[in-house]
Subunit: 344 residues, 2 copies
């Protein structure tokens, strides 16, 4: 796999991005094009002995899209920005996938404008893997779209199921619709209408409504929701983890010697747990529904997250998910027979 | 305060409800009417020595509304159910407040039908206190309504701020609108419209958009959202806490003697933390917007949660919040001048 990596995107760019790339080419069969400011990239890259022998090249760009810029305006006006150029490399067939930890809005917009949507998909969707005790649950959409129509949620469900099957390797994944109760009469209009479409489908394994409490338990493999709710849930989890760890740390600092000793003894167990629940282990979320492989990483990504995201990109491309999605949309009578695919 | 307590509502009714009542009358200045099956209530109550001298009476009812019944149908058809009779006691002026851990839908419906809405309020809203490191944040609506209109969210904000001020004792509470970004242009249509109303108001301290990560940190005192999102967030927190504790327990069980010893030493610190984050410490969520004091408890409430919820009821009635809400709606030019209060 040849990856276009936005070296300038994210809070720790470019140094952590470059370090992640160096780690990844040593671990996974891949070739990386670092897209961004050549001199800044070389500051980190040249620290690596024999860096010129690594399968890493640089594509120089002199513009960057900031986190606070309006995504559509920025993508249209900054043709030489790292995210736009990286996405264009995929469009031109020079790379297989694009990965960015920069502005999510800009990455989604660049993918939509340059790679375009897959025919039959109304809106692309960000699919975030949520750690569960036995693996992951895919939450989508986790922030690309708000005020989604029921057919957008249904399309998310189909794409999410194919991703889980062909990339995460779980056959017949259980698809749940995020809602406020188990019964099909529960929820807002969006959820109630979506339920009625899902329950008549035969191409996915619809397992009913998922409640908030089902997200982290692993009861469902794919959890479908509007991007507004998905984004709130993901950021809430972040805030909660941060608050809990802060309180534990304070408790240990205020405790006496036995408490400090205990913390030391318990550290490996807690570290193992933290690793299990650590979103950075998964590193990247695929943007499903665009006509190309695009992976979005968290703005706070460090080298480890980026390296993991490159592994995700590798598996994503290897899973040939795009072709599976296109085939599924062709086969799904529901989409052929109805106006769902047309009503964007 | 004289409380009508639904003795039959909740997973652990009536025994834990009755035990909670016994504890509460010993701790707080209150009088309790236990509403439910007299014989079943007496099974627990008569275990208490001299129970006849406690300020607890029984109002016998022979119907119960189950968790799986359709709320509106059940409330209309079961006139002699514990929740309907308890709510009627408030309507008739025989009690000051009603508290139930039974079906939330039934409790909300009974309150709406019997107590009616406050004039000017389109929809009542459940205000759930979320533990934060330094106190609580009030999340509302946490499940009474979905597909809310912007004016419903604004009304929630006003009522939530008055609750925090007069019951939780925090002056000038910071009101946040739950959204997917800080900027006022972010979010779905509902959030964008609500922001525009909030930002022009002078009677509340609107502090801008709150993101998911801000919910547990205490950055806002009141967080306003649609009941769909609020419900998903609360249940997600429940599921996450459950999953994390399960994993910690497994890790400790699988660990050797040092890990088990460490867990023992760390137990008081973790217990202190769990207490800080334990929702049952707060025990009850007020249903704001109905013309009477109504408190809703979690279905899984035990005696401790019920006792705490009775404390909440005491403070809620003592804070005279209903009068403050009515006065605020009178004074709020925004509501007088616009059609917001009329458009239910």
């Amino acid at each position: 796999m040849k990856l276009a990596l936005d070296a300038m995107g994210g809070d720790n760019a470019p140094s952590e991005i470059v370090k992640g790339a160096i780690d990844a080419v040593k671990k996974y069969p891949c070739e990386i094009v670092l897209v961004g400011d050549k001199n800044k990239i070389l500051e980190t890259l040249s620290d690596e002995p024999n860096f010129e022998s690594l399968p890493i090249t640089i594509k120089h760009t002199d513009e960057v899209i900031g986190m606070d810029e309006h995504p559509a305006d920025a993508v249209r006006n900054k043709k030489n920005s790292s995210i736009v150029v990286a996405t264009q490399l995929v469009k031109d067939g020079e790379c297989d996938a694009v990965l960015s930890a920069g502005s999510t809005g800009a990455a989604v917009t660049a993918a939509q404008l340059i790679l375009k949507r897959i025919h039959g998909i109304g809106r692309p969707t960000i699919a975030t893997p949520i750690p569960t005790p036995d693996g992951v649950a895919l939450l989508l959409d986790s922030g690309a779209n708000v005020d989604s129509k029921p057919e957008h949620l249904v399309q998310s469900g189909i794409m999410g199921a194919l991703y889980v099957e062909h990339v995460l390797g779980k056959a017949n994944p259980r698809v749940g619709l995020l809602n406020i109760g188990e019964e099909e009469t529960k929820g807002n209009e969006q959820a109630k209408e979506t339920y009625q479409i899902f329950k008549n489908m035969t191409t996915i394994n619809f397992a009913g409504n998922a409640e908030g409490r089902d997200i982290p338990t692993g009861k469902f493999d794919v959890i479908v929701c509007d991007g507004f709710v998905g984004n709130v849930v993901l950021k809430f989890a972040e805030g909660l983890a941060h608050t809990i760890f802060k309180l534990i740390k304070e408790g240990i600092e205020e405790g006496g010697v036995p408490v400090k000793l205990a913390a030391l003894l318990l550290a490996p167990t807690l570290k193992e747990l933290a690793k299990k629940l650590d979103a950075s282990e998964y590193g990247g979320a695929p943007l499903l529904g665009v006509n190309g492989y695009c992976i979005i990483s968290h703005g706070s990504s460090d080298a480890k997250s980026i390296c993991n995201a490159i592994r995700v990109a590798n598996e994503y491309v290897g899973g040939n998910v795009l072709e599976h999605i296109k085939n599924a949309l062709e086969k799904e009578d529901f989409f052929k027979d109805s106006n769902l695919a047309k009503r964007d």
